[in-house]
């Protein structure tokens, strides 16, 4: 039995685990697929939007920087076009022109200078004393001489400060000269510096050699890639913008960058940002989605486990009930077989007993004749004959009980008052005046009549009371009979404070011929008859017993259907 229970428990656990797994798979696979697809689409869309925004921003800034440089160049060209060349060699005119430019554009133009073809600054307007400064060896001068106009890279030069030069070359009296202006680095630097996003997004400008053309912040270290690296590694997109990703060698961080060419491809504007920060919203969304998915999955698993546990519990209960019913059916079948056997036996026994009693009667008849009246043992013979009669009647009673067990006595179904039967039975039992035993009855007066056989219900109660009296024995005690109305049944409780029934016997007390009474005191049919009657009526009989405390029988008889 215990083995069966363990096996059932293991089976139930395995069943629950399998069912939970199946349902989880069936529900999770579509959920994960849909979630994955949504997340993938969202990531793509987010990527596109982010890069589109950055591309637009870089494009605009590149345009701004190019415009800034071109405008400064045009300023100088316009200056040359709008006045006589000779005037520009005049320092006061140059000062005047610088003043006009500074009035119009602020501190963008730091100075103006006219340099002859030998690289000597013939005329100068500005804060520094650079008259007759020699530029013939300067790299920018050599480059500028080759072009009609020129914008240099940022360099330190004579002033030891980062700056760059814009120059326009013209011919005067068959000789070249150059109008040169130093552009305020801060004003130029601002154009790239103001491109800041978050904590790690910033822009800088590189020349072809890979030198920085803008000032760097202390907290921001640009990638050490060269101009060409950005172009070759990046993917070219609309407006000539290169997009790429790289890993910083120093700290291994992933960086995204966008680069745009400036100044006729001499410079490159690079915007870079840590990928983690650029995609922080996406990553946060992914984490939230993951957490929601995980919590949802966890809830599903918990709910499924709980539900399956409940289902298994109900199934187990149903199985137990089924098993109990099967046992009851077997029990009833056994009782029916015993009943049929009993009926046949009763008839067969009654005939020989009848003959015995008849013969004894005949002897009694003969003994009444005169010739036997003088017999020495007459009294003893009469006593023996009386005993034969008495025992014959006892046999008859036993066979009657057997027949009753097999439903062969009066079972006329009628409307009966349970309380009235209790009263009658208590009345009969009281008359027996058992010493030291009190029988109390507690009746629920609301109990309606039920359909049943009066004699059968009497028989149940008498059997139970007789058993209770035997259980109490000579020490004395009490028997309580209580009636109560339940939803579907009328409950009759017969309770005694007798010796109780050992646990080992409790399963067998309703078995036919099972008795613990002394030989001749009980035939083991009383409780079987009670059981049979109650079951036939569609009721239930239960026993609750504790050794030395007492026994309680609960009889539930069905109420009439209304």
């Amino acid at each position: 039995m215990a083995q069966d229970r363990i096996t059932n428990k293991l089976h139930s656990r395995k069943f629950t685990r399998n069912m939970v797994l199946i349902v989880i798979l069936v529900s999770f696979i579509p959920m994960l697929l849909v979630s994955g697809m949504v997340l993938h689409q969202f990531s793509n869309s987010y990527n596109e939007k982010l890069y589109a925004h950055l591309k637009e921003m870089i494009h605009r800034h590149a345009q701004d920087i190019d415009s800034f440089l071109n405008e400064r160049l045009h300023n100088l060209q316009f200056m040359l076009d709008s006045c006589d060349n000779v005037d520009l060699f005049n320092e006061s005119v140059l000062q005047e022109k610088l003043f006009q430019l500074q009035q119009k554009y602020g501190d963008v133009f730091e100075d103006l200078g006219i340099i002859n073809e030998k690289g000597v600054q013939e005329s100068y307007a500005g804060r520094l004393k650079l008259e007759n400064a020699q530029y013939s060896k300067a790299k920018w001068f050599e480059d500028a001489l080759k072009k009609p106009f020129y914008i240099s890279d940022v360099f330190l030069g004579l002033r030891s400060k980062p700056h760059f030069i814009i120059s326009v070359k013209r011919v005067y009296q068959g000789k070249y000269f150059m109008l040169r202006s130093t552009i305020n680095f801060e004003a130029f630097n601002f154009l790239a510096e103001n491109l800041r996003i978050g904590n790690t997004g910033f822009a800088f400008i590189l020349n072809r050699e890979g030198n920085f053309q803008t000032k760097l912040h202390d907290d921001m270290l640009p990638s050490k890639k060269s101009y060409m690296d950005f172009i070759s590694a990046g993917k070219k997109a609309k407006h000539g913008i290169y997009i790429g990703e790289l890993t910083d060698d120093s700290d291994g961080k992933h960086i995204i960058y966008l680069a745009a060419l400036l100044k006729n491809n001499d410079w490159i504007l690079v915007y870079q940002q840590e990928k983690k920060e650029a995609f922080s919203d996406l990553i946060r969304t992914q984490i939230i989605a993951g957490v929601i998915l995980f919590i949802g999955a966890l809830l599903i698993v918990i709910m499924l486990s709980f539900l399956f546990h409940q289902i298994i519990k109900h199934l187990s209960e149903a199985d137990r009930e089924k098993e109990m019913m099967n046992r009851q059916i077997i029990e009833t079948g056994k009782l029916a077989s015993v009943g049929r056997l009993a009926a046949g036996t009763a008839h067969e026994i009654n005939n020989p007993v009848a003959i015995m009693v008849q013969e004894a009667g005949w002897i009694e008849d003969l003994l009444k004749k005169e010739e036997f009246q003088e017999g020495e043992n007459l009294q003893e013979i009469e006593r023996a004959l009386k005993q034969i009669n008495t025992q014959g009647k006892r046999c008859k009673e036993i066979t009657h009980k057997l027949l009753s067990f097999a439903r062969k006595t009066d079972t006329q179904i009628q409307s009966v008052q349970v309380n009235k039967i209790v009263e009658e039975v208590v009345g009969i039992s009281d008359k027996k005046s058992y010493t030291g035993i009190t029988i109390n009855s507690y009746k629920d007066q609301t109990i309606p009549p039920i359909a049943g056989s009066q004699t059968e219900i009497q028989q149940i109660l008498l059997n139970l009371i007789n058993n209770a009296i035997d259980a109490i024995g000579k020490k004395g005690g009490k028997i309580d009979i209580t009636t109560r109305l339940e939803e579907r049944f009328v409950l009759i409780v017969v309770e005694d404070d007798g010796s109780g029934i050992p646990q080992a016997n409790q399963d067998r007390i309703f078995d036919p011929f099972f008795t613990t009474k002394a030989v001749g005191k009980g035939n083991g049919l009383g409780l079987s008859i009670c059981f049979g009657i109650v079951k036939r009526m569609g009721g239930e009989i239960d026993v609750h017993s504790t050794i030395d405390i007492g026994t309680r029988f609960d009889i539930r008889l069905p109420r009439n259907k209304t």
Partner: protein
């Protein structure tokens, strides 16, 4: 009252013979049959029988069947059923078929004698009534 004249029908030979002797002791004239078929034969040849004490369960024709034949054969003999099979159903069936009463084995002889006497009285009273009616019929025929 003239002693009742009864027929005992039972397959238990010993039972019937002893019962007959005890009935004789009580001034009851008794004849015996050990099967229903034999009982019917005896009835045909002894139409003045007052009562038949009939066992219900017998091999061959049973007591209830014999009772049916008695009642359909217009015999006025009363029948007391005696059975070892203490079923009220068979008793009621017997009563429905016209039995006077029924007793269960083993029964008290005095109780049986008492029932036999009652049945005899009833049968004879019935006989008297029929005789009177026949006499009146003859008389009226003669007068007319």
């Amino acid at each position: 009252m003239i002693a009742p004249f009864i027929l005992l029908v039972d397959d238990e030979v010993t039972f019937v013979k002893t019962m007959a002797k005890r009935m004789a002791e009580r001034n009851i004239e008794t004849i015996m049959a050990f099967s229903a078929e034999e009982g019917l034969e005896k009835l045909k040849t002894n139409q003045n029988l007052d009562v038949i004490v009939l066992d219900v369960k017998m091999p061959g024709m049973d007591g209830l069947e014999m009772l049916k034949k008695i009642k359909t054969g217009f015999f006025r003999t009363e029948v007391i059923l005696l059975t070892g099979h203490a079923t009220i159903e068979s008793g009621i069936d017997g009563m429905k078929l016209g039995a006077f009463d029924f007793l269960t084995k083993p029964c008290d002889i005095e109780e049986l004698v008492s029932k036999v006497e009652e049945a005899t009285k009833k049968k004879r009273a019935h006989d008297e009534k029929i005789k009177d009616a026949e006499s009146k019929k003859i008389l009226s025929k003669y007068e007319s």
